[in-house]
């Protein structure tokens, strides 16, 4: 019968069509063998990265596929997705704190050959194996208007009086105080506590103790928050400010001084307000009278290899290759004054000497060189620089930035703020 014919034919065609479609879908390929998955947030350095990859692929039998993410949580997002799908990356470009977190969670593979014996720092060393290959150092740095401040106020007391003077005389606030769940706020607040010799933590890596509210530490911590509160009176509302916001305040002349990271402000202001660049001078963080710059926050960023990816061995080789590549310094200097070589010798290398931007800002290099030994990552805050997972986690959630927010927006007293942050830190340990 005609009807049955059509029906049968229809079913056949639909069946065939769907089979085809499905085949086409599946044929997409579930990943080549020999492809190293590389997760990075250095979109700025894409060209250099591509060059290094090309060289690597010439000499080795692997291919490297890069996924760029934007900075911050986006890398974590991507990681979670890939992990959930059973397709974790092989290499992640991240900070030393994140590397330690991965190691603690059992996700990191050792890269000892790439690190040990090369002169590179070894911040994530567990049981003799290194799990992090650093590529760059990013120290915090402050900038102030040398045409508005007669000279660098340097001390806490100096800054208070100078900032007050500037704010009352001019159309411009004297300082910037960041708060909220942002990296800028977190690093600044932590650094302020370090400046006042507050020992936030104590103990070896496997039993970190929160000591911020013990005796002298507590007093010093309360003092620090008091100072922050005071400085906030001479600053615009910095709630929720990230690096860019603070820099915008400096650029738009809403503030005359800013604590930021490296020469990032200069790099940005150069494009928008070239006339301002000469009026800005770098400085260390304010420090209480009589105390020294002995602990200076410096991010350390580099490569960590995940052991659950498909090309762990290849990834290791790539990491080693990367650190020894000719283009390594180009990679580091793709954001000069913001990214610095991971070793002191690197500071004196030709690449650095010949970099135009750096040549124009020798004061930055001097500051970095003079204080190199004080550079500390937030990770190395266990006893004698041992890795401190609590500190890493606290940074991951910008706990101290939040404490500043509790103080300035939530109206807690400095004393209450210290208690709040101590509680939160201990909660992290559970």
């Amino acid at each position: 019968m005609a009807r049955n014919h059509t029906r049968r034919r229809f079913v056949k065609t639909t069946g065939a069509a769907s089979a085809f479609a499905l085949a086409g879908c599946l044929g997409g390929g579930s990943g080549n063998s020999g492809t190293i998955q590389y997760l990075s947030d250095r979109g700025d350095s894409k060209d250099v990265i591509d060059d290094i990859i090309a060289e690597f692929e010439d000499e080795h039998e692997y291919t490297v596929e890069v996924t760029y993410t934007s900075k911050g949580t986006s890398t974590d997002e991507q990681l979670q997705k890939m992990k959930a799908a059973g397709n974790p990356p092989d290499i992640v470009f991240d900070t030393s704190s994140d590397a330690y977190r991965y190691q603690r969670d059992g996700d990191a593979a050792p890269v000892s050959e790439a690190v040990q014996g090369t002169g590179l720092p070894d911040p994530v060393n567990v049981d003799g194996e290194s799990y992090f290959a650093p590529t760059m150092v990013e120290p915090l740095m402050g900038w102030y208007r040398n045409d508005i401040y007669e000279e660098n106020p340097t001390t806490w007391e100096g800054w208070v009086s100078e900032a007050e003077r500037v704010s009352s005389n001019n159309d411009i606030q004297g300082y910037v105080v960041q708060s909220g769940q942002t990296n800028n706020a977190d690093t600044a607040t932590t650094q302020y506590l370090w400046q006042n010799d507050v020992n936030i933590y104590g103990g070896p890596s496997d039993s970190i103790e929160v000591t911020i509210d013990n005796d002298e530490n507590r007093a010093a911590a309360v003092e620090t928050y008091e100072w922050i509160q005071q400085m906030a009176e001479y600053a615009p509302n910095g709630s929720g400010w990230e690096w860019g916001d603070g820099i915008a305040a400096l650029q738009q002349e809403n503030a005359a001084a800013l604590m930021s990271v490296g020469g990032l402000p200069i790099l940005i202001i150069e494009g928008n307000r070239p006339d301002l660049v000469d009026k800005l001078s770098p400085t260390a963080f304010p420090v209480p009278d009589g105390k020294g710059q002995d602990k200076w926050w410096a991010y350390m960023e580099g490569h960590v290899v995940w052991n659950s990816g498909e090309q762990t061995e290849g990834a290791r080789q790539f990491v080693e290759f990367f650190s020894k590549s000719d283009r390594f310094m180009d990679f580091v200097l793709s954001a000069p004054l913001f990214q610095f070589p991971p070793t002191k010798e690197g500071l004196d290398s030709d690449a650095v000497k010949n970099n135009e931007t750096i040549q124009k800002h020798q004061d930055v290099m001097d500051l970095v060189r003079d204080n190199w030994d004080a550079f500390t990552t937030v990770l190395a805050t266990g006893d004698e620089g041992a890795p401190n997972i609590v500190a890493a986690d606290a940074y991951g959630q910008q706990m101290f930035g939040q404490s500043a927010e509790q103080l300035l927006v939530g109206d807690k007293s400095p004393s209450e703020t210290v208690d709040w942050v101590a509680d939160e830190l201990r909660a992290l340990q559970e």
Partner: protein, 303 residues
């Protein structure tokens, strides 16, 4: 009757009819299942485990309990409701007002229509770029002019102030989504027979009475649907709030979707995140069911 026999009986009828039916529904159902059905089921499944993406352990409804009793849930729920209602109602009012205006055939009505649809088509990211730039405390022109004209002493960081963050986010949302209701309502308005208004005027009704007795009943269905659909979408809106305030300051704009994100990626607690998403789902579903029952927005208007 078993499904097979039922299918048999159905297939017995006009072949062409059924072919068309299959042709229209198979792709649809396939899509639906792959893009919505399976992910939702998967996500709901994940909500029953602790650490579902790593070493998962079955915990039943524990995640749900944790989420509801955890801190932040109450605030997030409140913020969600406030945000959803204010942005939906405001965009409805703006859309309705504008539709009424444009309906009266003023010059430039065409230009206005083009203007109105444009924000809706823009990616949220771009909308946020614009509004963040305008409301920024440092480079924002709003602050710049307000300060220059002496209205403000110092710039207001709209997205960072406790009192202004939510309104700022609502304004940006209304800017983008106002046109949705505008177009739906304008179409309905233009379908109303103008003779009705003539008759009303002859009988001596005022503008208000005409509006109340003629316009509103015709718009009833459209308004109800807009409220429901937009309400659901704004309740679940994540990107506008996230991109402008990230939920801050101090949780002032943390709505439930933001909370889901925080649970998923800051706390890396996927069990909790999916549980919260499940809770939101059931909440909205319940509201929708009641809404449909009570209002029956698809009903015909009795003239």
């Amino acid at each position: 009757m078993s499904t097979a026999t039922r299918l048999e009986a159905a297939l017995g009828e006009t072949d062409e009819r059924r072919l068309l039916l299959l042709a229209t529904f198979i792709p649809f159902t396939l899509f639906f299942i792959v893009v919505w059905g399976i992910p939702i089921a998967y996500a709901l499944g994940m909500s029953l485990f602790e650490n579902p993406t790593g070493n998962s352990t079955f915990v039943g409804l524990a995640n749900y309990v944790d989420v509801v009793t955890g801190d932040g849930f109450g605030t997030a729920l409140w913020n969600s409701v406030v945000y959803a209602i204010s942005s939906t109602v405001l965009s409805l009012v703006v859309g309705l007002g504008l539709a009424l205006v444009v309906n009266r055939e003023i010059q430039g009505g065409d230009a206005l229509r083009t203007l109105m649809i444009f924000p809706y088509l823009l990616p949220t990211l771009v909308v946020i770029f614009m509004w963040r730039f305008i409301l920024d405390p440092n480079v924002g022109i709003l602050n710049q002019y307000l300060v220059n004209w002496g209205v403000l002493e110092s710039p207001v960081a709209f997205f960072s102030e406790l009192t202004w963050a939510m309104p700022a986010v609502v304004v940006a949302s209304v800017w983008k989504f106002g046109s949705f209701s505008f177009f739906i309502l304008l179409a309905r308005l233009q379908a109303i027979d103008p003779n009705l208004y003539e008759r009303a005027r002859v009988e001596g009704a005022s503008t208000w009475q005409a509006f109340r007795d003629i316009t509103v009943p015709h718009l009833r269905g459209a308004i109800l649907i807009i409220l429901l659909v937009r309400g659901i979408w704004m309740f679940n809106k994540f990107d506008i709030i996230f991109l402008s305030t990230r939920g801050g300051p101090l949780d002032a704009t943390t709505t439930l979707p933001i909370r889901v994100y925080e649970l998923a990626f800051n706390d890396v607690n996927f069990g909790g995140a999916t549980a919260l998403a499940g809770i939101m789902f059931f909440l909205l579903a319940a509201v929708a069911v009641v809404y449909f029952k009570v209002f029956e927005p698809e009903k015909e208007v009795a003239n």
